[in-house]
């Protein structure tokens, strides 16, 4: 174990030192991540936990590391998705295309991965905070690798500000924890109910990083403007560090009774509003970023019901919902990284993220199209892929909670309905993305000139897609791992047998997958025999069809964005055709960052205004300062007299 972790750390460090030599960097970084992944796998498989020798005494000043099942669960995600993204980055952010930032990008990349590993291994408040800050800072430098465009700089700034607001909460959290327990060491503290209110600080700090709904303001612009391999890592893995913090400290510390209700409620809100905002986007990567908010919502639903079950006595549905939420951590990491890497290939090939400038990419980019489509089906929660397995587990927990008719049923019923709505909305959104970006005809010359990505980028996507399919078709095999993580979270829920229903679902998935392939092959064979003619798409007899007449992203989502206009507040610009011979007309719609532009920015402006008012007091005139002194002394005198007489 120690050797594996040391090799992992050395590999990442060596990679950073060898950043000038892409091959050496790739080899060292992949070795490091392989070592970390294997270590995590060993812990997950063996179920044991490893703590460093110094950790027995919780009071040693620094260097407390610990790897248990829960950390290993997240560490495997870092190593797995990180490995695929590393291979992708080698080709995507190469010296040839980014001579200025390629080397720096590799250094920050390794630091980013190592910092996440440190966060996961830390069992000491200060170590965790140091790791957290390194992780946040290296993330900032990765987002702003190409800082020429203004949008990238402002996105980076917003990320930094939000990250530090979160870090501030975590400083408060760990300091309060250390003050009350008398040590910075972290570990299970179930017998200290007075620590429960600290959960709210943790929710704020980790929630900012996870990007749950009202705290997601930094997320869309950072994900959209970062280089695509960084977006994949941010969305697939970095957000999960926030989830890790929430799961970790809700398991170690006592939680307030309302925690489960709040977390599950926030989950429902994040899920539906995340996907609603995604529907309104026309920037491919910004759209994917909002889907992260949605999926974090689904994860929080699982965690929330786990908390509710833990608080309301023994309930069979708690472990199911929590296992579903945890599996969704992996699943979202895999398919979202796949989708962001696919979006990166599109951006690389066409130079635009604007969906309405793309179209018909499948002819030039068949691999990217097929892999993106697989990721789209997985994120829409369609069987027989991995997204459905985790959503199914969450559903099972919710249905069981509803059928038990306990106090949690009142929340389980609306949450289940929200989850269904989320699923259907996500499906609508991904039909839109696939249809507008990859299918139909090219809308612009840029889309016509697109080219398939190189072997490394393709290989990275292929590996992630294979993992999505493998989890979908082998779900039952993962149950022991999930059960062990759940047991690590709450020792009152010992790992049991794999549920028969999960085995049956896995079997059904295999049958559906095989039958679908057979049906498609059969139909294709039939078509070949029947003879295929090609003709233009039915155009209702119109004489001059053009690619610009295809349905656009905004029109596809029009019905749904209209339903959510109460929160999306879409900006519509309209120039109607006027006069007998109208010369021009235009219509466009844009969905703003409602929470950022209508809540955070006005508050920030108000704060700046108040600060400017206070600033007026300080202007450098000595006479006025003497007056302030006199007034102050007079006020003190009055106060003293007052208390003396009174």
């Amino acid at each position: 174990m120690v050797a594996g972790l040391a090799l992992g750390g050395l590999g990442l460090l060596g990679g950073a030192l060898a950043a000038r030599h892409p091959r050496g960097w790739l080899a060292a970084t992949l070795t490091g991540q392989g070592a970390l992944g294997l270590t995590a796998l060993a812990v997950l498989g063996g179920g044991g936990s490893w703590a460093d020798p110094g950790a027995g005494a919780w009071s040693s000043p620094c260097g407390h590391l610990r790897l248990d099942v829960l950390s290993a669960f997240f560490l495997l995600l870092v190593a797995g998705v990180g490995g695929a993204a590393t291979v992708y980055a080698r080709e995507y952010w190469s010296e040839r295309e980014h001579p200025v930032s390629a080397v720096a990008g590799r250094v920050w990349w390794n630091l980013f991965l190592a910092a996440m590993g440190l966060v996961l291994l830390a069992a000491h408040g200060i170590v965790l905070l140091v790791g957290w800050e390194l992780f946040a800072l290296s993330g900032y430098f990765l987002i702003t690798l190409n800082r020429t465009p203004r949008a990238v700089r402002s996105a980076g700034w917003l990320y930094l500000a939000a990250s530090h607001a979160g870090t501030l909460c975590l400083f408060g959290f760990f300091a309060a924890l250390a003050a009350r327990t008398g040590s910075w060491a972290l570990g299970p503290l179930h017998d200290r109910p007075e620590l429960a209110p600290l959960f709210w600080l943790a929710l704020l700090g980790f929630g900012l990083k996870a990007g749950l709904f009202p705290l997601h303001v930094w997320l869309p612009s950072a994900h959209a403007n970062a280089p695509s391999h960084v977006s994949a890592m941010l969305s697939g893995v970095a957000l999960k560090m926030g989830i890790y913090g929430l799961v970790r400290f809700s398991g170690w510390l006592p939680t307030p009774p309302a925690a489960g209700w709040v977390v599950a409620g926030l989950g429902g809100v994040s899920a539906v509003l995340g996907v609603a905002f995604a529907l309104g986007q026309h920037d491919l990567k910004r759209l994917l970023a909002y889907h992260s908010v949605e999926n974090i919502g689904i994860i929080l639903m699982g965690l929330g019901f786990g908390l509710l079950a833990a608080a309301h006595g023994p309930a069979g549905w708690g472990p199911l919902a929590l296992a579903g939420g945890l599996l969704h951590v992996w699943n979202h990491g895999l398919f979202k990284a796949l989708l962001f890497l696919g979006a990166g290939s599109v951006l690389h090939a066409t130079g635009t993220r604007e969906m309405s400038r793309l179209g018909g990419l499948w002819t030039r980019m068949p691999w990217t199209t097929a892999l993106f489509a697989l990721g789209a089906a997985a994120i829409s929660g369609l069987p027989p892929l991995n997204g459905f397995v985790s959503e199914w587990l969450v559903y099972l927990g919710l249905f069981d909670a509803a059928a038990a008719r306990g106090p949690a049923a009142a929340l389980a019923i609306p949450t289940a309905i929200l989850l269904a709505i989320t699923g259907a909305l996500a499906l609508a959104c991904f039909v839109k993305v696939c249809g507008v970006v990859f299918l139909g005809a090219a809308r612009t010359p840029a889309a016509e000139r697109a080219h398939e990505c190189g072997p490394a980028m393709r290989g990275a996507m292929l590996a992630l897609a294979a993992a999505c399919v493998a989890i979908g078709l082998g779900a039952a095999g993962l149950w022991p791992v999930l059960a062990r993580v759940v047991a690590a979270w709450n020792p009152a829920w010992p790992p049991g047998e794999t549920p028969a229903s999960l085995k049956a679902l896995t079997a059904a998935h295999v049958v559906v997958a095989l039958a679908a392939v057979a049906a498609a092959a059969g139909l294709a064979r039939k078509l070949r025999r029947a003879g295929v003619r090609r003709a233009v798409t039915w155009d209702c007899g119109y004489a001059a069809p053009s690619p610009r007449m295809q349905y656009t992203a905004a029109s596809f989502a029009g019905i749904l964005t209209e339903w959510f206009a109460w929160i999306l507040h879409p900006h519509r610009h309209e120039e109607k055709p006027e006069g007998v011979l109208p010369r021009r007309a235009r219509w466009s719609v844009h969905t703003p960052e409602t929470v950022l532009e209508e809540v955070i920015e006005p508050v920030g402006r108000g704060f700046l205004w108040a600060a400017a008012q206070v600033r007026k007091l300080q202007h450098g005139r000595v006479q006025a300062y003497v007056l302030y002194l006199l007034l102050g002394v007079a006020a003190l005198a009055v106060l003293a007299l007052w208390s003396w007489t009174g």
């Binding site: 039909v431 249809g435 005809a441 059904a508 039939k526 029947a530 155009d539 209702c540 596809f556 019905i559």
Partner: protein, 302 residues
């Protein structure tokens, strides 16, 4: 009867009898209008004819265009296989099979809409957009209805939930599911299967560029989906689990026939509603299902 024989019988019912329903609906419509109408078996003839025909594909269509109808057909049939046919039972039953069933229908929707987007046609894009948008409300209503059954029976397996039926809220649930049936199968008042005006259609417009065997797969899948919703509706309303097998089977057949005639009557007597009213109608279906859920929850069944 042996398990294999039962399996074949179930599949024969789903695949063989499904195309009967659209024929019956057309007969009812014709009778109300005082016409003789097409033969009840018309869809069988159409399917046989389409299966033998050649195919015209859009120049823009990728190989995925063939995947669409195949996967959609398979997903609908798989969902139907999970739904018990009264005493005949289902192919498989496990806790949570109901969620898989609902998501298989979603898979069918994804595949159909994907194929529609393949052609780059604005009409088909319009149809796909409507289909996936209205499905959001329909899916919410179905989940609410399923939750009502689940809360009523305290079970998570379709066979147990449907055997118990929705109890006192059955009428509400039946009404809600009937509206969902009309919407999901694109019948009047949501869509008019007879219209041929591209701008106003939902499902039909998505398959404008499908021909020959592809269209046959689409039409057969649509028929299976109609039968699926009719069977679901009847079992959600009638507590067949407590009845002898023969009675239950007769009740199921009679119920499905009644639903079919009902669809025909609605189609004959109502006009299509304007598109902006569709969400309102579907929201009412959802509210009906939620009321059924509340009745089941507060009524304290079991």
């Amino acid at each position: 009867m042996s398990e294999i024989g039962l399996m074949l019988l179930r599949m024969a019912v789903w695949l063989g009898l499904a195309p009967l329903l659209p024929g019956l609906i057309n007969k009812v419509k014709a009778a109300v209008a005082g016409r003789r109408g097409p033969p009840v078996l018309q869809l069988y003839y159409d399917l046989a004819r389409l299966w033998r025909k050649g195919v015209v594909l859009s120049t823009l269509a990728s190989p995925g265009f063939v995947f669409g109808p195949a996967v959609a057909w398979l997903a609908v049939v798989a969902a139907a296989a999970l739904l018990p046919l009264g005493p005949l039972g289902a192919v498989a039953g496990f806790r949570g099979d109901v969620v898989l069933m609902i998501y298989l229908l979603a898979l069918a929707r994804f595949a159909t809409a994907w194929s529609a987007m393949e052609t780059g046609s604005a009409f088909e894009g319009m149809g796909a957009a409507r289909e996936v948008s209205f499905a959001v409300l329909a899916e919410a209503a179905v989940i609410a209805g399923v939750l009502a059954l689940c809360v009523q029976s305290g079970r998570l397996t379709l066979a147990d939930m449907l055997g118990e039926s929705a109890g006192p809220g059955a009428a509400l649930l039946g009404a809600g599911l009937f509206v969902v049936l009309l919407a999901e199968n694109c019948r009047v008042p949501f869509d008019d299967p007879n219209t041929h005006l591209e701008l106003t259609m939902v499902h039909e417009v998505m398959v404008l560029d499908h021909s020959g065997p592809l269209l046959a797969a689409v039409l057969h899948g649509a028929a299976v989906k109609l039968l699926f919703f009719a069977v679901l509706l009847v079992q959600a309303v009638l507590p067949m689990g407590h009845w002898p097998a023969g009675t239950a089977l007769a009740a199921l057949a009679g119920g499905v026939l009644l639903v079919t005639v009902g669809v025909g009557l609605v189609e004959a007597l109502l006009a299509r509603v304007a598109f902006r009213r569709v969400p309102l109608l579907l929201t009412s279906a959802w509210v009906l299902c939620v009321f059924a859920l509340l009745v089941a929850w507060k009524g304290g069944g079991r």
